[in-house]
């Protein structure tokens, strides 16, 4: 136990706590102005922060519990968790069971709180894929690849149906990376990547996606377009860039960012939280947060490298991809170099299910790291 405690990745834990603290401050600054503007006393402007605080506490508990447990036990329950996840994704589409908001059916309401099963779908996917791949000691054949594609394809289709394009994209990227780490030959990987891109473009052209989804996905390459159907997404992107651009080197200071205080950036506390960082903390703050998230990802990748078995290695590779891609995608979309999707910034964006999921993921990575070989 003493040896395991000595191997506990304090840097990873500390980074998570630091980024979470920054996230809570940013959520407060991004919601305070709007809540006060609605006539609430300043004290009540903590409402959103308090709600997120509950999920952070729950997440910390989940992270520590998973970190102290042997991750290999997860292998026994991974398929059961996968089945539960598919069931939850089906159930959330059933009227009166799942609840809807902003045109999506993604949530279960539990009292005042809402749970989004698609956030946990990524974690369940990582567990199931890692379990399957680690049990193929001789490597993955085409047959295995087809099975994995079916295994991940079912929840991806259910997630697209909600619709939640962001999670579907992440699940696809996570699968491709895990297959690569699992040793799938390069030519097969190339075919898979090309296939995924073909499916994506077919979905764009075939009318499978809603028009607002297509607008959000294509706006970043038509940022100066006069096309009326793109104006909503262009407006959001414009406000996001205005906010970040006003930050300069050191930012305008906490609670001194007018775009943040006045709620100019739509969905700022969730998908566009990086704009609050850019405006209030500037280039220095934005770089620091990205650096911390990079450090966090690197520690997870390090855990993958030193994992004692393929299961642990694949778990950490999947978790790394989940965290790193979420960070890259989220920060990039606020600055117009990636499509706008509903992917949160890990440990920073407002959102209970996402927070729980990220903490749980790091808990698993901590467990793998503390039980490394050698």
């Amino acid at each position: 136990m003493g040896r395991r405690a000595a191997r506990f990745d304090v840097a990873l834990l500390g980074t998570v706590l630091l980024v979470t603290a920054i996230g809570l401050v940013m959520i407060y600054t991004a919601t305070r102005g709007t809540l006060v503007g609605q006539g609430l006393p300043v004290g009540d402007a903590l409402a959103v922060l308090k709600r997120q605080g509950i999920f952070v506490m729950m997440g910390l508990v989940a992270m520590l519990v998973l970190a102290t447990q042997d991750y290999r036990r997860l292998e026994y329950v991974s398929y059961a968790l996968y089945g539960l996840m598919v069931f939850a994704l089906l159930a959330v589409l059933v009227p009166h069971i799942g609840s809807s908001a902003l045109g999506s059916s993604r949530w279960f309401s539990v009292g005042p709180l809402q749970l989004q099963p698609s956030e946990f779908a990524v974690l369940a996917e990582i567990l199931a894929v890692a379990t399957y791949c680690s049990r193929r000691a001789d490597g993955l054949a085409w047959r295995d690849v087809w099975r994995l594609l079916a295994m991940v394809g079912i929840p991806v289709l259910l997630v697209v149906k909600q619709p939640d394009m962001g999670t579907a994209i992440i699940m696809t990227v996570v699968l491709l990376v895990m297959l690569a780490v699992a040793g799938v030959p390069g030519r097969i990987l190339l075919l898979l990547v090309l296939g995924a891109l073909a499916v994506f473009f077919l979905a764009l052209k075939a009318g499978v996606l809603h028009s607002y989804q297509i607008s959000r996905l294509t706006t970043f390459i038509h940022q100066d377009s006069n096309n009326p159907s793109l104006q909503g997404a262009i407006y959001t992107l414009q406000q996001a860039k205005d906010a970040i651009g006003s930050g300069g080197m050191f930012g305008r200071g906490l609670l001194h960012g007018s775009a943040t205080n006045l709620g100019y950036v739509p969905e700022q506390q969730t998908d566009f939280i990086f704009t609050a960082i850019g405006e209030q903390l500037g280039f220095v703050g934005g770089t620091a947060v990205l650096g911390l998230l990079g450090l966090l990802c690197w520690r997870v990748l390090r855990a993958a490298q030193v994992a004692r078995d393929p299961f642990g290695r694949l778990l950490c590779a999947g978790i790394f991809t989940f965290l790193a891609y979420s960070t890259f995608q989220n920060a990039s979309m606020t600055m117009g170099i990636m499509p706008i999707t509903g992917i949160p910034l890990p440990f920073v964006s407002y959102g209970g299910s996402a927070a729980l999921c990220f903490f749980a993921a790091v808990g698993v990575a901590l467990s793998v790291g503390s039980r490394r070989s050698g």
């Binding site: 780490v181 205005d242 970040i244 006003s246 205080n261 990079g294 490298q305 393929p310 890259f328």
Partner: protein, 516 residues
């Protein structure tokens, strides 16, 4: 596996480097362009965060001012319009969110917003004074504006749309200009975007049953058939451009003979000869009873060239140069070519000569016609700004009256003035016996007027545009007034609907309450 994990790390580094590069690009290279972008909300929020100068009525009453925004608001100041709908169409709004800047708020925006002061002393040259705002004082008299509002509200028919313009004929100062419908500017000054947008849509994108919008002042914007008030223009054309017709004499009869190249006849005050009242004689005999067939024939005799010339001398086909930035229309009189046989022909000119067919005018233009006669033949440039003072008191600018048009000689003006007096004083004339609802007669005010009862031709009960234009006292005119009340019941006349309002306005203008 380890090699591929290392590759993963390399790809991550590349991605994060790309994000940092774009972060630097947005926060440094593109920062200025983003900061100055018209889409940047900060740029219009500044307008809410800065004080603007006051807009005042002639008596100093505050019509627009900047006040502290309510507690909890994100802005320092918001615009307040204490006089509400009474002045809103002239004062306008300053509404950055809706993107609407209208009226005086727009016209004198450069004075009302904070601007640098030019140094007046050596010390100010070395240490420039802080930016200041100016206050704009208007020519409008609040009590007259209120009388106009009440007069239109008191119209007996269900439709109370109308417009009243009161001018000082010697300076062009607008003393009152009120149109119904108007609008309440308060919701448009609300920094709450949703509330303001809803109010904006109600004001600028909706009309009443008659098609009038509160956001577009009828007095300056809507062109309406002038009816027989246009006979002042036709009469002026005779004395001014065709003096050989001064002794024109039209045989007394109910209707014209068939018009050139047409089988139509024009009958007096009726659509058919059976119901028409015979009229005729000299111009002096035709104007008081407003003899339509006589004026139709007179217009054809004057001819298209002089009729077009005279109407344009009065300002038709030109936008009056009043100091309002928008919603001011040019009144319309057809061109000479349009009276050629292949177009409207002389028959068209016959109708135009008494303000029917294609002639359309605004209340402001018709007030300027009356003002021209009242001012000895010169139309002064209509204006709303009287003076501009900086917020510390010193005068920045004051309005200097300037002529706009010279539609007639002083002698012609004198002649037309006397003819218009006869419209009030001659028994049987259209304005004979007309009085305000309070019983003050036009005659007792020594008014000179002309009535107008224009048939719109609409197959509805409310098909008449009622007019009266005039001035008083006739021998020393102090005010010129135009009253238009469109879409009134078909059994009404200019004298019966617009007449009492004219008497009310003249009485109020000539007898202001103490202290005004």
């Amino acid at each position: 596996m380890s090699r591929r994990i290392r590759w993963l790390g390399a790809v991550m580094l590349l991605c994060f480097a790309l994000v940092l590069l774009q972060l630097a690009n947005v926060q440094f290279r593109k920062a200025a362009a983003l900061r100055n972008s018209p889409n940047n909300p900060r740029n219009f929020v500044k307008k809410f965060d800065n004080l603007r100068g006051d807009i005042l009525a002639a008596n100093g009453q505050v019509l627009a001012e900047s006040v502290h925004a309510p507690k909890g608001s994100s802005y320092k100041y918001m615009r307040s319009y204490p006089a509400g709908p009474l002045f809103s169409q002239i004062v306008g709004i300053n509404d950055p969110f809706y993107g609407a800047y209208t009226g005086i708020e727009q016209e004198y925006n450069s004075y009302l917003t904070a601007h640098s002061q030019s140094p007046k002393t050596l010390s100010q040259l070395l240490s420039p004074p802080p930016p200041t705002t100016d206050d704009v004082t208007l020519t409008l008299e609040p009590y007259l504006q209120q009388v106009a509002q009440q007069a239109l509200a008191g119209i007996s028919s269900a439709n109370k749309d109308g417009a009243i313009v009161v001018l000082n004929p010697h300076t062009g100062a607008v003393l009152a200009m009120y149109s119904s419908p108007s609008y309440d500017p308060a919701p448009l000054a609300n920094p709450d975007v949703a509330a303001e947008e809803k109010a904006g849509n109600a004001v600028f994108h909706s009309t009443d049953a008659e098609g009038f919008s509160g956001g577009l002042p009828m007095a300056t914007y809507n062109r309406i058939f002038p009816g027989s008030t246009f006979k002042i223009v036709t009469t002026t054309a005779v004395y001014n451009l065709a003096p050989q017709l001064a002794n024109f004499n039209y045989p007394v009869r109910p209707c014209t003979t068939p018009l050139p190249n047409s089988n139509k006849v024009i009958c007096n005050d009726a659509s058919s000869p059976q119901h028409a009242v015979a009229c005729g004689g000299t111009i002096a005999q035709m104007l008081p009873p407003s003899c339509d067939p006589g004026y139709a024939t007179l217009g054809m005799t004057i001819g298209p060239t002089d009729m077009v010339k005279q109407s344009e001398l009065f300002g038709y086909n030109s936008v009056p140069p009043i100091d309002l930035p928008s919603a001011v229309s040019a009144s319309y009189f057809p061109s000479v070519t349009q009276f050629q046989p292949q177009n409207l022909g002389l028959a068209g000119l016959a109708y135009s000569a008494f303000g029917q067919q294609n002639v359309q005018t605004t209340a402001l233009q018709n007030a300027l016609v009356a003002a021209a006669v009242a001012n000895g033949g010169t139309i002064m440039t209509p204006h709303l700004m009287a003076s501009i003072h900086d917020s510390n008191g010193p005068l920045v600018k004051s309005y200097q009256p300037t002529p706009w048009k010279q539609p007639m000689s002083a002698a012609t003006a004198q002649t037309v003035n006397q003819l218009m007096q006869a419209v009030v004083t001659t028994p049987g004339a259209t304005a004979y016996g007309v009085a305000s609802n309070a019983g003050v007669s036009l005659a007792s005010l020594h008014a000179a007027v002309k009535t107008g009862t224009a048939q719109t031709g609409l197959p509805t009960l409310y098909s008449i545009d009622d007019w009266m234009i005039g001035f008083a006292p006739a021998n020393n005119p102090q005010v010129a007034v135009a009253v238009v009340v469109p879409y009134q019941p078909s059994n009404t006349y200019g004298a019966t609907v617009a007449g009492p309002i004219m008497a009310t306005m003249l009485q109020a203008a000539l007898n202001p309450p103490p202290g005004q």
